[in-house]
């Protein structure tokens, strides 16, 4: 029972973690991409379709990463090079993505999909409890953990990460030092798109191997909230993702136990929890201020 719960928490947390990690990198470079939901949903449908047509879930993941990058490229061209309003452009990306996903997905509604199977790690997976939970998982779970560690190392121990943070902190100063602000930001946004696409793939290949409209159900937005919650630190994103995974899974188990609560209230729990968490984090200023990228949301135009 506990094992089953832990497994389902992990499955619910992984897409949030991957999407949020990509957004964290984009935001650290100073770009707020509110289109995570849109990139994710397009990634989800692309993964489902390609996996179904080719029979390979890995081809599906690749397709999701590519289309996520494509969506992000559209966003980057507009916000980074054409300095459009990032909030509005992100919303447009989400609307656009939901529409595109709906169009592509129409032909796939109701069909069973391809499932990404678990890959057991030898020896480790034989450990009691944790073995099954942590080392006999789908590859995207392993990816999400490595991604977190990799992003953390990149941001705080590599020169490229230092540059990326500099660009998000004071783009004018970074430019004066000869850094290519807009190139760095474009790459960061593309990385965010790849991650969002893969997060979407997890939904249709692991979480529920089928296509239903609006399969993301606001997860892209929750991923955005996670980045704020984590005050732009990778391992706090990990903690936050698992917290939200637990909240999501809790609703099913509360119903299973037979507690008499309207199902709508339980469905609203993740959203209400998001608001609560945002309030708790925002009211602790010191926690957020130190890490907030100072130029978040501000386009950069070099003077002449």
């Amino acid at each position: 029972m506990i094992e089953a719960i832990l497994l389902s928490v992990i499955t619910a947390a992984t897409p949030l973690l991957i999407a949020a990690m990509g957004e964290l990198v984009a935001e650290r470079s100073g770009v707020l991409n509110l289109g995570v939901e849109g990139m994710m949903v397009v990634g989800a449908v692309a993964a489902f379709a390609v996996a179904k047509e080719t029979g390979s879930p890995y081809a599906g993941i690749l397709a999701a990463a590519l289309i996520g990058a494509l969506m992000a490229a559209l966003f980057a061209i507009l916000t980074v090079w054409f300095v459009t309003n990032q909030v509005a452009t992100g919303l447009a990306l989400t609307l656009f993505g939901l529409g595109v996903a709906g169009m592509i997905g129409e032909a796939y509604v109701g069909f069973p999909g391809v499932s990404l199977g678990a890959v057991a790690i030898p020896v480790l997976s034989d450990l009691p409890i944790v073995g099954r939970v942590l080392f006999d998982q789908d590859p995207l779970f392993y990816f999400s953990i490595l991604l977190t560690a990799g992003v953390a190392w990149f941001l705080f121990y590599s020169r490229a990460g230092l540059r990326l943070r500099a660009v998000g902190d004071r783009p004018e100063a970074a430019h004066a030092l000869g850094l290519h602000v807009n190139r760095v930001r474009t790459l960061a946004v593309l990385f965010g798109g790849v991650c969002a696409g893969i997060a979407g793939a997890q939904l249709t290949l692991v979480y529920t191997p089928q296509w239903v409209e609006n399969i993301t159900a606001g997860r892209g937005w929750i991923a955005l909230a996670l980045v704020v919650f984590a005050s732009w630190r990778p391992f706090r994103v990990l903690a936050g993702a698992y917290l939200f995974g637990a909240v999501t899974i809790a609703q099913f188990h509360v119903q299973a136990i037979g507690v008499n609560v309207p199902s709508q209230l339980l469905s609203a729990l993740p959203y209400l929890a998001t608001i609560l968490v945002l309030v708790l984090i925002a009211s602790n200023r010191r926690f957020t201020r130190v890490n907030t990228p100072a130029a978040l949301g501000q386009p950069f135009v070099p003077d002449r």
């Binding site: 020169r159 230092l162 500099a166 030092l177 100072a294």
Partner: protein, 516 residues
């Protein structure tokens, strides 16, 4: 071209729209000399230097390095040649450490051990620095050291310094000069940009003067007088400010503050501690200090943009602690902040709308009882201000953004003077304004005081304060010294007060040793 010519430009030209910011500039820099580049704000010094450093591309002309033509496609090219630059507005990241900042500027240096190398270099040149300190916690002088150390770590043959002393205390300036002379002794060339003539005379071997984008004079600063250099810079005599008698000691206080405390507004802000000051009607009180010592906070506190929670603040005897900006304006106060675009004026709004910014009370006649705007009246005030202050712009009612810095400052000052205030608080009255306009603004402040108004002028420019102030106080680390009569105050005394309590790195072990 002589044997030891390091860098030469031929007919360097850069055009922005209709402005020839750099107009056929030809100059040469020899090895091992300190050359001053003089000129007013807007004379084209920065544009010229940016081209030498690869931050701007010339439209015409060429640059020769050791006799060979080079294209500075980007700053990295200049860096590889051996050109180092110390910027006026530091390209530092407050949330990062000194070492991280240095690593960012030196892409070719391995990050490992960089902090230690920075510490060694800083000691060798008498510029003590803690590489692990967060930039946000450092004083302006210490921040400049990071820039200089970063530049020196590249072992440059040409060091360009853009107005390095504008942020330093007189004592720090002396120390910087020691460093620069050491560089010269090592055979390096220094291009020293400044408009402080006395410094140039003390330090430089040669002076090049720019005006309106052109090279207009070359001189030996040792044989010129400050006045003759000034005349070359401005292209004529700058009118001296007319003085007036100081107010009687028993004049009523226009502004009276006591025991004012405010916490820092944001993470990197300064908190004000125990500020007391009395400004009499008819008096100009100057507040000196280096940037970032609480000037902005003091201004916000006086204007009411930061609520007064702890302390006394009276305007002509009326308690104003609980009043916001509008309420203080109603008592006859007026305010001119340091930042023109985005604080004193809205960039995208036209001038008439910017009149409404500080004048939207019913008494101003620009708003009806029902809260409707009377734009015609605002426009009339705008025209009056433009005429009185000689604000120059294209078009009748342009957006604030379209004005040059000096003209916008004249407009903002004029907008407040037009209200005939009884108290004026002004932060950096002539920052980035050309000499002619600066003289006009200073004169306007003195004339205002002559009408019986109290004036508080916060400025980093000591010359300016000595020119207009009756009394001078110094702000350092959020504390204000008691004001002293300007006539009896010396630069040295002010310098010591400016250094105040804010020199933590000097206390570091080995800080003062000069490795010569």
């Amino acid at each position: 071209m002589s044997e030891d010519t390091l860098l030469e430009t031929r007919g360097l030209t850069k055009v922005f729209g209709s402005l020839r910011a750099c107009d056929e500039v030809s100059l040469s820099l020899g090895t091992g000399e300190i050359v001053a580049l003089l000129g007013e704000n807007g004379a084209g010094k920065s544009t010229l230097v940016k081209q030498l450093f690869g931050a701007l591309q010339p439209d015409e002309g060429e640059i020769l390095w050791r006799g060979a033509p080079v294209v500075m496609a980007e700053p990295a090219v200049a860096r590889h040649l051996g050109i180092g630059m110390v910027h006026q507005h530091f390209s530092l990241f407050e949330a990062f450490t000194a070492a991280e900042n240095i690593a960012l500027g030196l892409p070719d240096e391995p990050m490992k051990g960089l902090a230690e190398r920075a510490r060694e270099t800083s000691r060798a040149y008498g510029l003590p620095l803690d590489p692990y300190a967060l930039v946000a916690d450092l004083s302006v002088g210490e921040r400049q050291r990071i820039e200089i150390v970063r530049c020196l770590l590249q072992n440059p043959t040409l060091v360009i310094m853009d107005e390095p002393t504008s942020v330093l205390t007189p004592q720090e300036v002396d120390r910087l000069f020691v460093t620069l002379r050491k560089l010269k002794a090592e055979g390096r060339t220094v291009l020293y940009i400044s408009h402080k003539l006395e410094e140039v005379r003390a330090l430089c071997d040669r002076a090049i003067v720019m005006r309106a984008g052109r090279l207009v004079a070359e001189a030996d600063p040792k044989t010129e007088t400050a006045a003759s250099l000034a005349a070359a810079m401005v292209g004529g005599e700058v009118p001296a400010v007319r003085h007036r008698a100081p107010p009687p000691a028993e004049a009523v206080p226009a502004l009276d503050i006591a025991a004012l405390n405010t916490p820092a507004e944001h993470q990197f802000g300064v908190s004000l501690a125990d500020i007391s000051l009395t400004v009499r009607a008819g008096e100009v009180v100057g507040i000196a200090g280096m940037a970032g010592n609480g000037q902005a906070e003091l201004f916000d506190c006086l204007s009411g943009e930061i609520a007064t929670v702890d302390g006394r603040l009276q305007i002509f005897g009326v308690s104003a602690e609980r009043l916001g900006v509008d309420g203080r304006r109603a008592l006859g106060a007026a305010f001119v902040p340091e930042e023109r675009l985005g604080h004193g004026a809205v960039p995208g709004f036209d001038l008439a709308e910017n009149v409404l910014l500080s004048r939207h009370r019913r008494e101003d006649g620009t708003v009806t009882a029902g809260g409707l705007l009377r734009r015609g009246r605002a426009r009339r005030i705008m025209r009056r201000v433009v005429e009185r202050m000689d604000v120059r712009s294209s078009g009748d009612n342009p957006p604030a953004r379209a004005l040059s810095g000096g003209n916008l400052q004249k407009f903002v000052v004029g907008r407040e003077l037009d209200r005939a205030p009884r108290l004026l608080v002004i932060n950096q009255p002539t920052w980035g304004v050309d000499a002619g306009a600066a003289a006009n603004i200073r004169q306007a402040l003195i004339d205002l005081a002559a009408t019986g108004a109290g004036v508080v002028a916060i400025s980093q420019d000591l010359d300016e304060l000595f020119e207009i102030a009756d009394r001078i106080a110094v702000i350092a680390g959020g504390r204000l010294s008691p004001p002293e009569p300007a006539a009896t105050m010396t630069r040295e005394a002010i310098g010591i007060l400016m250094g105040g309590v804010h020199e933590p790195a000097d206390a570091a072990p080995g800080g003062e040793t000069l490795a010569t």
